[in-house]
């Protein structure tokens, strides 16, 4: 009871509650603690990354996990450094990015118009509901052997797989977006005599953009996974193929270096598309407080 009293008196002013809420969000710290957290937002992550890299080094050097299975952090990064000075690495890197980019673009070209159509047209949506519900959860990895036997170890296989995987999240997001349009806006436009084409371009499409951006962010990651998968399992040129070769020759250090590089590629794609998503969402109320 005593504790309760103290707390309620401390939070008497409504403004205080708002500040507490904002501080919880990490957006606006209370005045007293404002310097420390701001330093912390840089120092803590940096220290944490440094600590984990040192831990990796220690685990490997001490033999807790033998260096043959887990090469030391320094060895792995040295290997990566040597690798990124070679031409084959960048050729493979370019191949992976190429498969990813074509796959994601194709998925966008297909999924966005179809998604808008299914989103605005109730009849089409129910006609294709069952095929979509059935095809969507199919793990695209199951198609690898089929592609291997039909399209072979070509860029086509890689692009097909990436497109197939990236298509579904984007389709579903676009459908939601087109369906979530404010009906009042549509009715108002209609009563002002705005034609269906104009309504689609000026109301439905713009209000679906944030959903499409979210779909693109999800799909960009999926497309990278599947481009890499095609290279690893079918041997189409790219980072995945290099991993396959390193595995075949037992070059463990290269395996780690390539995994680090692939991870950074994934992070770069994720950051780029998250930024795109934030941009598309900038006007949205949910984003207003987090920008500060």
């Amino acid at each position: 009871m005593h504790q309760a009293m103290r707390y309620t008196s401390a939070m008497a002013a409504p403004g205080d509650v708002a500040t507490a809420a904002a501080a919880y969000d990490g957006a606006l710290a209370p005045r007293l603690r404002s310097r420390l957290p701001r330093l912390g937002t840089i120092a803590i992550p940096v220290l944490s990354i440094a600590a984990s890299l040192l831990l990796w080094e220690a685990v490997s050097r001490s033999g807790l996990i033998s260096e043959r299975d887990l090469p030391a952090m320094s060895t792995s990064f040295q290997e990566l450094w040597a690798m990124i000075k070679t031409e084959p690495f960048w050729a493979a890197f370019a191949h992976t990015v190429e498969g990813w980019a074509i796959g994601l673009s194709l998925a966008a070209v297909l999924a966005i118009p179809i998604g808008i159509l299914l989103g605005v047209n109730d009849f089409a949506a129910s006609a294709f509901r069952i095929p979509i519900e059935f095809l969507r959860p199919i793990p695209s990895a199951a198609l690898i052997p089929l592609l291997f036997l039909t399209l072979g170890t070509t860029l086509k296989s890689e692009v097909f797989l990436a497109t197939f995987g990236a298509f579904w999240p984007l389709l579903v997001q676009t459908m939601y977006g087109a369906r979530d349009v404010d009906p009042v806006a549509i009715d108002t436009a209609r009563s002002f005599g705005v034609g269906p084409r104009e309504r689609l371009l000026r109301i439905t499409l713009p209000s679906a953009v944030p959903y499409i951006a979210t779909g693109l962010r999800i799909s960009s990651t999926v497309a990278l996974i599947l481009a890499f998968t095609a290279e690893l399992f079918m041997g189409t040129p790219g980072l995945g193929q290099l991993v396959n070769q390193a595995q075949a020759y037992g070059l463990t250090e290269q395996l780690y270096a390539l995994a680090i590089a692939t991870g950074f590629l994934g992070v770069a794609i994720h950051i780029a598309f998250s930024a795109l998503e934030r941009r598309a969402l900038r006007w949205h109320p949910s984003q207003r407080s987090t920008g500060a």
Binding site: T8, P37, F134, F228
Partner: protein, 260 residues
């Protein structure tokens, strides 16, 4: 057209379109006579011969076991790690760079490493691989869910002297539950994908293994049957999860219906 007849036509189309797709598939494969695209009827007969249920125990059960265990470990660990991270800003700042890095890593890039580290292509390696990648959707959604809880609620509970573990059990966990479930749903489909990848890469049993062997021996019927099986598994697991989610979140839906 009246509203009622429109609805009937709509239901008709909902049934007619999938049937038309299946018929077109059968007619096209019968016409094409391509060994790589066996007739749909042949695929379904092979499916019945293999999976109902002569090879179910040898290949489907191990795969389901790996998916189930990998997913369960990821779900428990994701919630257990996600709650403290959601509650503490400092630990979140320390953990986020690692989470952001690993969640962006394409899973197949770690397949060979997982074999090197675990020294096996058996269940431990498969389950560890599946669990590792299924962790991130649950973890990230748990953190978001916990952060989304009204801080006044937590402060009120604290000021009334509700002990920490009770606060987590009665306030934080239920409050974050809808988002946790959303993360688990993503993880479950990821579990099936990583299972197929891991088994296709190196295994001695499982549906991914059947996929690989039938491809290598050019047995197109079994290969297609395995593709269909993986599709059906993905679909059924998703449906099962939605049913479970509906039960678990019934209170949440009821509450939302009442307040909105």
């Amino acid at each position: 057209m009246s509203a009622r007849s429109y609805r009937l036509v709509k239901i008709g189309a909902e049934i007619a379109v999938p049937v038309a797709i299946l018929v077109a598939w059968q007619l096209w494969t019968a016409h094409a006579q391509s060994p790589r695209f066996p007739r749909l009827s042949t695929i379904l007969t092979t499916f019945q011969d293999m999976w109902l249920f002569s090879q179910f125990g040898t290949h489907v059960v191990p795969s389901l076991e790996r998916v189930g265990l990998g997913f369960a470990i990821a779900a428990v660990a994701g919630v257990a790690i996600g709650i403290p991270l959601g509650l503490s800003r400092v630990s979140r700042a320390a953990a986020m760079p690692h989470i952001e890095y690993w969640r962006a890593m394409p899973p197949p890039a770690l397949l060979p490493i997982s074999i090197v580290l675990v020294h096996s292509i058996g269940n431990e390696q498969k389950i560890a691989f599946i669990a590792f990648f299924c962790l991130f959707p649950v973890l990230l959604n748990t953190i978001d869910g916990v952060r989304g809880i009204d801080p006044t609620l937590i402060d009120t509970a604290r000021s009334y002297g509700v002990p920490r573990h009770e606060r987590i059990r009665r306030l934080v966990l239920p409050g974050a539950m809808p988002q946790i479930m959303a993360g688990m749903r993503t993880s479950l489909s990821l579990a099936v994908i990583t299972m197929v990848l891991a088994e296709y890469f190196s295994s001695t049993s499982g549906v991914g293994y059947v996929l690989l062997i039938s491809k290598n021996t050019y047995q197109l019927g079994p290969m297609w049957a395995a593709i269909v099986l993986i599709g059906v598994l993905g679909y059924l697991l998703n449906v099962l999860f939605i049913l479970a989610e509906r039960r678990l979140l019934a209170w949440h839906r009821g509450w939302r219906a009442a307040t909105s």
